[in-house]
């Protein structure tokens, strides 16, 4: 089994209100100089055939209309 991590985030240009809310909260806590905060999600999985991860991202894990994704293999297999 190959361990992998999929990072999913809203596409550039799509309003991300969660990111905005986090960004607005930071100065109140004394964190200045932070911008372009985007909130996404991460999925970890183990898969027999890592070649299929892209397909399952397209079909289920991400909605390609509104989200970008990156696949990261964790077992050192390139």
């Amino acid at each position: 089994m190959t361990r992998a991590r999929v990072l999913i985030r809203p596409k550039e240009g799509i309003l991300d209100p969660q990111g905005k809310a986090v960004e607005r909260a930071l100065p109140a806590l004394g964190f200045e100089g932070i911008e372009h905060v985007r909130v996404g999600r991460m999925v970890e999985l183990e898969v027999e055939d890592p070649e299929r991860i892209g397909e399952l991202c397209e079909k289920l894990l991400a909605n390609p209309l509104i989200e970008d994704y990156e696949i990261e293999r964790l077992d050192g297999a390139a």
Partner: protein, 211 residues
């Protein structure tokens, strides 16, 4: 006319939808594991939180047995109405264009509001959702408008979620699949203040008659 109303684990508006459909014909619930829609003339995908809305609203419901049957039913021209979570499911399934995103202000809104249909008629219908901001790329929005696929808009100043171009509901290119965020099934009895929701169900029935 016989209506089938889908029921997923996590659906919560299927009973009101069943009641609304029964005012216009016969109606029955369709459990999410059912594959046979042979006895129904129209399908409603109701509101709620199918499969807990895990991952993304509607993303998992799309792969249910019943939704595979609905996709075939829609491709054959059968009328399908998706309400709220049902609209999200139809978008995820690719039966309608676009996607529904978190409300712009991150708040769940629940209130009576006014929609404007294709003919300019105003309908008073409640909306209740946290993830109803309609999104599609600009060129797709232009295309939807040019093809007459924008079925309902929020009346000026009443867009509760930041939807592109005030869009509250869209239909498929062929016209037989309709989805909207507000809840026509909650506006079918004078007891709750408006019966305008029936007009939405009637429009779906008419689309089926034409297909």
């Amino acid at each position: 006319m016989r209506w089938g109303v889908l029921q997923f684990p996590g659906s919560c508006d299927e009973r009101d939808a069943l009641k609304a459909c029964s005012l216009l014909g016969e109606a029955r619930l369709v459990w999410h594991e059912e594959r046979d829609l042979g006895d129904v003339d129209a399908v409603v995908v109701p509101g709620g939180f199918s499969y807990g809305d895990y991952l993304r609203a509607g993303a998992i419901a799309r792969f249910s047995a019943a939704m595979e049957a609905v996709a075939a039913f829609a491709q054959a021209g059968g009328p399908v109405l998706g309400i709220c979570n049902g609209f999200q499911v139809l978008c995820e399934a690719g039966l309608l264009p676009g996607a529904l995103l978190l409300n712009e202000d991150l708040r769940f809104h629940c209130r009576q509001l006014e929609l404007i249909d294709d003919d300019g008629e105003r309908l008073s219908i409640p909306a209740k959702h946290g993830e109803g901001r309609y999104y599609a790329p600009e060129d797709v929005l232009d295309e939807l408008e040019a093809n007459g696929q924008v079925a309902y808009r929020y009346a000026p100043g009443q867009n509760p979620n930041g939807s592109a171009r005030d869009i509250a509901g869209v239909r498929s290119r062929a016209g037989n699949v309709l989805g909207l965020m507000p809840h026509p099934e909650h506006a079918v009895d004078p007891l709750t203040g408006s019966t305008d929701g029936l007009k939405v169900f009637e429009a779906v029935a008419a689309a089926g008659a034409r297909a």
